[in-house]
Symmetry: C2
Subunit: 196 residues, 2 copies
């Protein structure tokens, strides 16, 4: 997944980014995130421990303990890197068009088994902090699209209501039903929020 | 998990039923579920292993391995017990009234820190199987309320759409935002589904 280039994503909140973006610190972070992805893809989630990740990443375990403290924090950092700044906010000229395209993109992302494995592992190991990392900046993206429509003079829903109508079912289907929604289904959700 | 038996699913939370309610098997299951709840409440989720649960429950670890196989299956069983048959389907005389009361009940349940800890741990350890256990029979409950309205001759949404509009935001808020919705907010969700 895209987390193999987390270095450039420095807008990530709570992330353990190094002060020198291309430096050793960033390389370690990239290697560790990649190791986490690989291990989760191998369904080694149960045995995901700091020493196991360190061995796969080719980094001393002490470096990982010093930087992340626990597997939970490490996973929350990987999730932050993965779910923030990922989906480009579309600009189609209308709020409905923007939301339809954005919801379809989020649905596609949440149908990726690697993404689902990362979310489940992060929820399990990192509790509430990890959960918020899995939401990333998606509510900020909704807010940006809604704000643009408001500036155009259009009637807009609240960000909260948009999150309920779109992110709610998108995450619920992906995580709790084992049947992530299709992009077409996701586009249809916009009708719940903005009746024709 | 259901394979491991548990036979008739109890209508009471956390309670364990065996084929002989009150038999040794049921007592073991009850003790194990209680041990899981206690350990999760102590935020011992990270260290939740079969031997740790066995010690707390006062049961031989071999018994647990034989019955559940892994911590993931054990958690999925605990979640099934907790989330199935929990919320009584209301019967207020109208679909709107039923859904409002039901959504408020689900919101109250999902605001319980112990419930959130169980869901997060189950998702982390039991993957997709665990995720479905955390949804329990809530879509069946929606289906029952919708079917009753249909029998009365009313216009009804599909169960899928009702799940999107109600379970989506209920689970999303509880799990991914760290701020579970209030019962009043949950009642308001029904307006997304059934515009006035």
């Amino acid at each position: 997944m895209a987390a193999s280039t987390p270095v450039t994503r420095s807008r990530t909140p709570g992330a353990a980014t190094g002060s020198r973006p291309g430096g050793r610190s960033a390389r370690v972070r990239a290697a560790v995130h990649r190791a986490v992805e690989e291990l989760l893809a191998e369904e080694a989630g149960d045995g995901l421990t700091i020493p196991v990740v360190a061995a796969r990443a080719g980094v001393h375990a002490t470096t990982l303990y010093r930087r992340w403290g626990s597997v939970g924090e490490l996973l929350a950092d990987a999730a932050t890197s993965r779910f923030s700044g990922e989906v480009v906010v579309p600009d189609t000229g209308s709020l409905r068009g923007d939301l339809e395209r954005w919801a379809a993109d989020v649905a596609t992302d949440l149908a990726d088994p690697d993404v689902l494995a990362l979310i489940r592992a992060t929820l399990g190991a990192a509790g509430e902090q990890g959960a918020c990392a899995c939401r990333g900046d998606r509510e900020d993206q909704l807010a940006a699209m809604i704000e643009r429509e408001r500036a155009r003079g259009g009637a807009v829903p609240t960000v909260e209501r948009a999150a309920d109508a779109l992110l709610g079912p998108l995450y619920y289907r992906a995580i709790f039903t084992g049947e992530p929604g299709s992009p077409d289904w996701a586009r249809g959700l916009v009708n719940l929020l903005l009746p024709a």
